[in-house]
Symmetry: C2
Subunit: 203 residues, 2 copies
């Protein structure tokens, strides 16, 4: 190793030592153990897929997982095919397509209410370690469900249950109630460059 | 149904019809089929979990998936336990912890270079439909790997292979080369409120 490389390594080690001290201190300060309410919102890609990644993570720890999809965009999704065959997962799909496909508000409201009943069953079951409420924000945005009632049910869940809510335009009341909120920002998307939704990547 | 509800439904149907026309037109315009290079970056939660959600999605479509983790934060992750037992997945973990744990630049560079060799093997194999390069951005940020060489290898992959790169601080050259880029923005995080990293949710 020449002298320049050696100096680089020493500076790197010092920098990393300072960083490690900061990280260790933060970890020591965070010791509460409880269920977390997570919201994935924003206009970019990754809101639902991040929730499904956490489903895999939870299953890897032997947890039981419940998923309710509030808006069914299509019937041939890879995530549904994959997770339905995994032990430890219950998977409900409600709704009949994006709301611009049905164009029938009364039917959408009835579907959303039925889906919320499924969600409430999961949210009352302490054996379920993780509940994913996929595209719930869309049902809230169109006021198919009342946000105050939804937040009350979320906050009344078992103390160690995690919940992930996905969808654009999360309402402020839900963001306020959540522990962790990520805004998935669209920097660019292949779709805008003419690439169609690809199986295995987009659905 | 009273008259007010009826009017609400009619307005909703008209609004959704206009929306459907716009969506249908966009879908008709996007007909290219090819592999997509996706980058998940930003300071918020969801970069790696979104990639793992797409792994589940791809497996649901019967695709073969390869994962290389460039930074190993811990040895007990749920995603690794879960996906290692799935057929159709190869899973490599390189590196020996976050870079602030090793504090040894020369060792980190050697580990990153070995991981990149694993990645290149996947990036040359047309049987692999999806390659996940988890935390590659960290290896690029610390210049353990040369970004120009990495981008060249990414662009030389089989035409129908998808790649997802994750990690904070994606370099501009990679963002430029990518098709779809999401910036996972931190709105808030339970960790800052004193909640420790919970198994099944954070790892």
């Amino acid at each position: 190793m020449n002298e320049q490389d050696n100096e680089k390594n020493i500076r790197h080690a010092e920098r990393m030592q300072r960083k490690k001290a900061v990280v260790d201190e933060k970890i020591a300060a965070a010791q509460i153990e409880r269920g977390v309410l997570l919201v994935n919102t924003g206009n970019g890609k990754g809101k639902s897929s991040a929730a499904f990644g956490v489903v895999a993570r939870a299953l890897g720890h032997g947890m039981q997982v419940g998923v309710v999809q509030f808006i069914k965009g299509r019937s041939d999704t890879g995530e549904e095919a994959f997770f339905r065959r995994q032990p430890g997962v219950v998977w409900h799909v409600m709704g009949e397509g994006f709301t611009w496909d049905t164009q029938d508000r009364a039917r959408d409201v009835a579907a959303a209410e039925a889906a919320w009943e499924q969600a409430r069953t999961l949210l009352r079951d302490p054996a379920i370690g993780l509940v994913v409420l996929d595209e719930l924000n869309i049902a809230l945005k169109y006021r198919y469900l009342e946000v105050a009632a939804v937040v009350a049910d979320l906050l009344a869940r078992p103390a160690h249950q995690h919940v992930i809510v996905t969808g654009r335009a999360a309402p402020p009341e839900l963001v306020e109630a959540a522990d962790t909120v990520t805004d998935m920002g669209l920097v660019k998307h292949a779709f805008a460059a003419g690439v169609r939704a690809m199986p295995g990547l987009e659905f």
